[in-house]
């Protein structure tokens, strides 16, 4: 169903069935989570809707094989990382050849206090210049608060690699933010 059904389904006041594995329920339960990760990873609002759609289009194909509904959240995070990584690399390439303007991170913090806004914009500027994989690993560790094992799983790398990426990103950020 289009409007009526989905509006009915996505209302926040409805009971959420965390065990449901059909596309509508999964979209209702996790689209906010996917949008939130996408926004923080990309650092720009204009690609978020596209990423959410892409993630659920990919997820749709694998939903039938989901055995454990509790694993859906992590699985969606992994897909989101894949989609966002592709998008970030494409954006960087476009920016390199002059087809994409630098993102305006100030748009992310319009409601924040001035000092906090400045801090976050500087952090995002630093994140923008570091390798995409380092940025993703750091984001999941320190922004999403995921344990190291989950970060490694979501990023599709070993635990040692995840630790190295996080440490590199942390060092680069420390230089920028503590200046």
């Amino acid at each position: 169903m289009g409007h009526a059904r989905t509006l009915r389904l996505v209302r926040d006041d409805e009971t959420v069935d965390a065990t449901a594995t059909d596309l509508v329920s999964v979209f209702r339960n996790y689209s906010r989570y996917v949008a939130s990760i996408a926004l923080r990873l990309l650092g720009r609002d204009d690609d978020v809707d596209d990423v959410v759609q892409e993630v659920f289009l990919i997820a749709m194909r694998g939903l039938d094989s989901v055995r454990d509904p509790a694993a859906i959240r992590g699985w969606l995070a992994t897909i989101t990382v894949r989609v966002a990584r592709r998008k970030m690399r494409r954006r960087r390439l476009w920016a390199f050849v002059g087809l994409d303007a630098a993102p305006d991170h100030a748009r992310l913090v319009v409601d924040a206090a001035q000092d906090k806004a400045v801090l976050i914009v500087r952090a995002y500027s630093a994140l923008e210049h570091m390798p995409v994989d380092d940025k993703i690993a750091w984001m999941f560790r320190y922004v999403e608060g995921e344990p190291l094992e989950s970060v490694a799983k979501i990023c599709g790398c070993s635990l040692a690699t995840a630790k190295r990426r996080i440490a590199r990103a942390q060092a680069a950020l420390a230089l920028e933010v503590d200046e």
Binding site: M1, G2, H3, A4, R5, T6, L7, R8, V10, R11, D12, F27, S31, R32, A35, S36, A38, L39, R40, G43, D45, D46, V48, D49, V52, Q53, F56, L57, M60, D64, D104, R107, L108, V109, D111, A112, K116, A117, L119, I120, A123, W138, M139, R141, Y142, V143, E144, G145, L173, A174, V177, D178
Partner: protein, 264 residues
């Protein structure tokens, strides 16, 4: 060092309200339909190639091509198998469906079988069976839920002209409903994209803005209004509204389109 991660987590949040989620969901469905159409087109093309190849009995490409099609779509493979019997070497593997005594029903068929149990148009519409819902649609409906659902049944069963009336009634009779702006926006899309009624569409997009001037659809509605006016030949108003869009959304998502239709 300041805990910058926590600062980002507490400050950078997606503006993810129900209406935006709804808009993304609609876009997701549209992309899904487009992909399905593309997949069907690709499978059909491959099926055609396979059929042509199978006409030549000594053409060794035939069987692999059918296998490729099988990977893409079970229905296409069935169609091809019906049209062209493909000889395969005998297999000695056990057949689970026959030996267990219980037919192994493919999951998709099981879903369709479950869907067949639904009888009312609402139930059919809720599981996405719009064509069948359209066939059994009955009764007089006044509330916004029903009207929006009927509009979807009409629209998604390929009867866009009939979808306009329930949408108009939501806009007219349920203007206080938070979905009225969305109904007006959808009406505009149907009128412009499906029916080619550009002038009426411009009015519907104006309603969408009027009903929720600060709503998440305001930017899209304004941009599409510029497009509708331009298509209706009202270039002066389209030009003026294009300036309004630039003023309101200097970094808007539809800048290029608005400039094009507004003649900027």
């Amino acid at each position: 060092m300041i805990d910058i991660g926590r600062e980002i987590a507490s400050t950078v949040r997606a503006d993810w309200n129900d209406v935006r989620r709804e808009v993304v969901w609609i876009g997701l469905r549209a992309r899904r339909r487009r992909r399905t159409v593309m997949r069907i087109a690709c499978v059909s093309a491959m099926a055609a190639v396979a059929l042509v190849s199978l006409r030549e009995p000594h053409d060794k490409r035939a069987a692999p091509l059918v296998d490729v099609v099988a990977d893409e779509s079970a229905e296409s493979l069935t169609a091809i198998k019906r049209a062209v019997p493909v000889e395969r070497p005998p297999t000695h593997e056990p057949q689970p469906a026959a030996s267990s005594g219980e037919p192994a029903v493919p999951s998709r068929r099981r879903v369709i079988a479950q869907r067949a149990e639904f009888s009312t148009w609402r139930e059919l519409a809720r599981v996405g069976e719009y064509e069948r819902a359209y066939e059994v649609l009955d009764g007089v409906h006044e509330n916004a839920d029903d009207l929006l659902m009927i509009a979807d049944v009409m629209r998604l069963s390929h009867h866009p002209a009939e979808a306009t009336e329930p949408l108009r009634r939501v806009v007219r009779d349920h203007a206080d409903d938070p979905r009225a702006s969305l109904a007006a926006f959808t009406l505009g899309r149907v009128l412009l994209d499906d029916l080619g009624e550009a002038r009426e569409a411009a009015g519907a997009f104006a309603d969408a803005i009027r009903l929720a001037p600060q709503g998440p659809l305001a930017e899209d509605a304004l941009a599409r209004r510029v497009e509708a006016l331009a298509r209706a030949g009202d270039t002066d108003e389209a030009h003026a509204l294009a300036f309004q869009y630039l003023d309101q959304f200097p970094r808007g998502r539809w800048l290029r389109m608005v400039r094009r239709f507004g003649g900027l």
